[in-house]
């Protein structure tokens, strides 16, 4: 009796171990694909704080910032996030003399920096947490 169970189980064990390894490799692969390190060398960037697999839509782990960046649900933005709680054109971040300024473009659900809803243009500091819709970003500034 035990012999038969043991013989069956040895195959099941091997299958489980390999499925485990494959799923971890796949998760690591998905992580690597999400990081575009080339663009991040010196520029300031937004880093996703949420765990990627808890969100039902596509979002990248890092977004490098440019001279002028729009974020929203619409296709014409530089950062497109298909979160239903984000407006078509939600906010913009502009660079001026090395500093980055965030402006909410009259979105329905608003933009929060460090849990405070912003009303006009705000200068971003290193370590600010920006919340839009269901997601939260960390602003990492580089001089």
């Amino acid at each position: 009796m035990f012999n038969i169970v043991s013989l069956i189980f040895k195959y099941i064990f091997i299958i489980i171990i390999y499925l485990f390894i494959l799923s971890i490799i796949r998760l690591i692969y998905l992580d690597i694909k999400g990081i575009d390190t080339k663009a991040l060398n010196n520029a300031s960037y937004l880093k996703l704080v949420n765990r990627k697999d808890t969100l039902p839509f596509k979002v990248k782990e890092y977004y490098p910032l440019d001279k002028e960046v729009y974020l929203g649900r619409g296709k014409d933005n530089q950062i497109v996030i298909r979160d239903p709680y984000i407006s078509k054109r939600h906010l913009k971040i502009v660079e001026d003399e090395g500093n980055y300024y965030l402006e909410d473009l009259g979105s329905a659900n608003g933009t929060y920096i460090n849990e405070e809803r912003i009303l006009d243009v705000v200068k971003l500091k290193n370590g600010d947490r920006i919340r839009v819709g269901q997601i939260e970003f960390l602003y990492v500034g580089r001089e």
Binding site: F2, L7, I17, F20, I21, S23, I24, I28
Partner: protein, 412 residues
């Protein structure tokens, strides 16, 4: 669709399924002397592992794979140890429970205390004190003095010394500029390392010598500015290898049994030949748990657990273990590359090298690829000291995987 299926939950649930099946199988195996406590321990461990994996995702913002991989390795090792000797298996469960607790403790301590890189002298002096204690109070087991017993508990100080050495090297290279200004400053580290190696030679603990040497040369290769020193070190390691061969008879025995164990099959080469027989007997899928004879190999629960796993669970499981170690070491290096603080970066790389070299030496030794050196496989073999120190190392690696420079900037 596949993307959605593979989430962090998937490997966690697979691990749980694996452990439950194994528990079930081990129960049928030892149904003659069933014990209520074993069952409670088994279920308890499965729950602890599941909850820790779950908790870690919430607590830590860093790497989420290393702990998963390690819990898988632990499960495979534990199944085998329990099958070889149920009593040792229960002890191992207790060690694992303590190890996981220490992992979280290390994580909290290492994360919340700053300034680890300042204590260079403390690491050096601490290791030397441990060495002296071992020499004075240690007992000789199988040719090497590396155990001291305090009140019935035997511990192996060299496991802690390995971690202290990593810290020492890391803090030295973090404060490299400071040491370079002093006279002969760049020779301090080499002098200390050779002092350690001298102590280990006195204890005849040559496995640890090999590990320390590799760690030291690898980290020196990455960070040393005076490149000539590396060459000297390499030369010196070859010389001390020869010296070891000439001075110690048990090194010579290891070498002879590596070259041709079949000549000494009835005495010196018995262990290694039994290990080879066991691996060959298992084949690709193994004989099945409880159907092989791993107890023919001496020391099967510590150094030779890999052969036992290969015999009963198959070469495929053996390759799986090697692959798990590969991913673990790869993650460790990646953590090191991503870390911005130099001290944590060197520590992360050092710990990855430690895991990598330890598993390489013993896998190679058991498979007769390199001369056998008796050390434990981290997380798989039976052993309290090794389990606890490996978990401390893992906790440190977990801290190093987080973005730490950022939190400092916020404070200041």
């Amino acid at each position: 669709m596949f993307n959605k299926m593979v989430s962090y939950k998937y490997p966690r649930n697979l691990l749980m399924l694996f452990e439950l099946l194994a528990l079930f199988l081990l129960f049928i195996y030892s149904k003659d002397n069933l014990n209520k406590f074993t069952f409670i321990y088994g279920i308890g461990l499965i729950l602890i592992v599941y909850v820790s994996n779950f908790l870690l995702l919430r607590i830590s913002t860093g790497d989420t794979y290393i702990f998963l991989i390690v819990t898988m390795l632990i499960s495979i090792g534990l199944i085998m140890i329990y099958r070889i000797d149920p009593l040792l298996g229960i002890k191992q469960i207790l060690w694992i429970g303590m190890g996981i607790f220490i992992f979280f403790l290390t994580y909290l301590v290492f994360k919340n205390i700053k300034g680890w890189e300042e204590w260079t002298y403390f690491y050096g002096i601490g290791s030397i004190i441990l060495f002296i204690i071992t020499l004075l109070f240690g007992s000789r087991i199988r040719g090497a003095i590396n155990w001291i017993s305090i009140g019935g508990l035997s511990i192996q100080p060299s496991e802690i010394i390995k971690l202290l050495t990593i810290f020492l090297i890391a803090s030295y290279y973090t404060r490299y500029e400071h040491f370079k200004k002093q006279k002969y400053g760049s020779y301090y580290l080499i002098a200390t390392t050779y002092l350690f190696i001298l102590f280990l030679f006195l204890q005849r603990d040559l496995g640890t010598v090999l590990i320390l040497y590799t760690l030291f040369i690898a980290l020196q290769f990455i960070y040393e500015e005076n490149r000539r020193l590396i060459l000297y070190n390499l030369l010196f390691s070859i010389v001390s290898g020869f010296l070891g061969y000439l001075l110690f008879p048990h090194v010579r025995i290891r070498f002879e049994t590596w070259l041709n164990p079949w000549k000494y099959i009835d005495n010196k080469g018995y262990q290694i030949t039994q290990s080879l027989f066991a691996i060959a007997e298992g084949g690709f899928f193994g004989t099945g748990l409880g159907l092989g004879h791993p107890d023919f190999i001496p020391e099967v629960h510590t150094d030779f657990i890999f052969s036992a796993i290969c015999e009963e669970m198959g070469i495929f499981t053996g390759m799986g273990i090697i692959m798990l170690f590969l991913i673990l070491v790869y993650r460790g290096f990646k953590i090191g590359i991503n870390q911005k603080i130099k001290f944590y970066r060197i520590v992360a790389i050092g710990i990855s090298i430690l895991f990598g070299i330890q598993s390489f030496i013993i896998f190679g030794g058991v498979l007769k690829m390199i001369p056998l050196t008796g050390i434990t496989i981290p997380f798989v073999s039976y052993g309290g000291s090794s389990m606890l120190s490996s978990f401390i190392a893992l906790g440190i690696l977990q801290v190093a995987s987080e973005e730490l420079d950022f939190e400092e900037a916020k404070d200041g």
